[in-house]
């Protein structure tokens, strides 16, 4: 029996240039192999009818416009749609109708400066979002945060930031909050900051920071005037390696395969956002982690 008859991914590996030299030679010199080469060449002559993207886009925009005009009727009609679509739609409508929050978010590898009503400034790190209620802002300066952001809060009434793990309250000050998975880390650069959650009430003065991982709380001193990521460098002090890898993921938008092979180590150091390859070297070389980085697919494979 020929290998392409018994190996159930042989021909896909052939198309993807993944065969060994020996396999390739044997296959492409066989009669069947030649027939497949011709077939793949012939497939280049097949296409789909042309598609007018701009026309389709303007039709979609006019459909959206119609729905906006008839919003009152829209909800009952949605009930008849497929389950998946309906759930998503209802969720989106709930957010829209009941809170009307302003939401600002960044994707992988992005940063964004946001000016809040009253002049407070927030710099969002990659893959993060904040939301707040603009109408209620004069009553309550409250922001929801997912991810990481640097806040420079103008003086005024109490300013609070809600995260998954706790609430941070300040008057006027500058500070950084990182809230990703089970980590909450707060660094206070000016003024003072109060953290409230189920387990802790911690007050930080300028130059102090606190990390909460699961229920373990660690206080630390800051070594910089502002967070280093604002200057395009991510820094860590005795951070679990998986937190560092998560940062690689958000900064470079890379996909990570075999994350379970990551050793349980703590990393102290930093990496620049300018080059993924340098960053990987800086993070993994100290631990002798074997990895492969596929630049075109932006994928990190741990070995």
């Amino acid at each position: 029996m020929k290998p392409w008859e018994q190996d159930d991914t042989f021909l896909s590996r052939w198309l993807n240039n993944e065969l060994s030299e020996k396999e390739l030679r044997e296959f492409e010199s066989s009669e069947e192999g030649k027939a497949y080469i011709d077939m793949m060449l012939a497939s280049k002559g097949i296409g789909t009818p042309t598609y007018d993207v701009e026309k389709a886009l303007s039709q979609v925009k006019s459909k959206i416009g119609e729905k906006k005009a008839g919003k009152q009727r829209f909800l009952p009609r949605a009930v008849t749609m497929t389950v998946a679509a309906t759930v998503t739609l209802l969720a989106a409508f709930a957010v829209y109708w009941f809170t009307k929050d302003t939401v600002i978010s960044t994707g992988f590898g992005e940063q964004q400066l946001v000016t809040l009503p009253g002049g407070s400034k927030v710099t969002l790190h990659a893959n993060s979002s904040i939301s707040y209620d603009e109408d209620d802002w004069s009553q309550s300066r409250t922001v929801e945060l997912e991810g990481e952001a640097y806040f420079d809060v103008s003086e005024g009434s109490l300013f609070s930031v809600n995260t998954a793990v706790g609430t941070i309250e300040v008057l006027g000050t500058s500070f950084n909050i990182k809230s990703r998975l089970e980590l909450l880390q707060i660094s206070c650069y000016q003024g003072s900051v109060k953290l409230l959650n189920r387990l802790n009430e911690v007050i930080l003065e300028a130059g102090e920071g606190v990390s909460i991982r699961l229920s373990e709380t660690t206080l630390f001193d800051l070594s910089h005037e502002t967070p280093s990521w604002l200057q395009g460098v991510s820094s860590f002090n005795e951070a679990p390696l998986d937190e560092v890898v998560q940062e690689l993921e958000v900064v470079f938008g890379m996909r990570i395969e075999n994350i379970n092979r990551l050793p349980k180590e703590e990393y102290t150091g930093s990496f620049p956002h300018s080059s993924a390859e340098n960053a990987l070297r800086l993070v993994f070389e100290p631990f002798g982690v074997d990895y492969e980085y596929n630049e075109s697919r932006n994928t990190l494979i741990l070995k």
Partner: protein, 170 residues
Amino acid sequence: MTQESNDICQEKTFEAVFRSLAPVLRNFLLYKFRDATRAEDIVQEAFVVLWEACKKVSIEKAKSFLFKVGQNKFLKLLDKDIVKEKYDDLTLVNVEVEDPAFTLEHRELSEKLKQAIAQLPEGQREVFLLHRIDGMSYKEIADSLEVSVKAIEKRMHKALLKLRMICKSL
């Protein structure tokens, strides 16, 4: 605040997402429905759904979201028996090939191949065409259909075996 944003609720971003994803979504649905007009209608419906859910869908997830919405609409039409299994309906066209190795015989073979493709099971057909016509990698197809890369490789392998078998008999 900068206007640059990854937020699909921003009109400019939505337009950019449409321009980059509508053609491949349309082809994907065409491979399923074998009917360009119906595929294009569903592309529009899927993007309207995306717009309404724009706060909940990140730009990275937009592709698999659209593929899923498109597929759901397809399945619904199948339930209603609107989509009939008719092999000779698949709308594929001839395209110019620059490659000098592409001879008249290959043009004849591609005619046979078009018929053979129409006879493939739906799952194999969409993988084969997304890879060959839309240039998607196995990984991209796997992510869009939310199945494993291995499953895509198997479908591709089976598709080639079957196409070869059908072409031989034509």
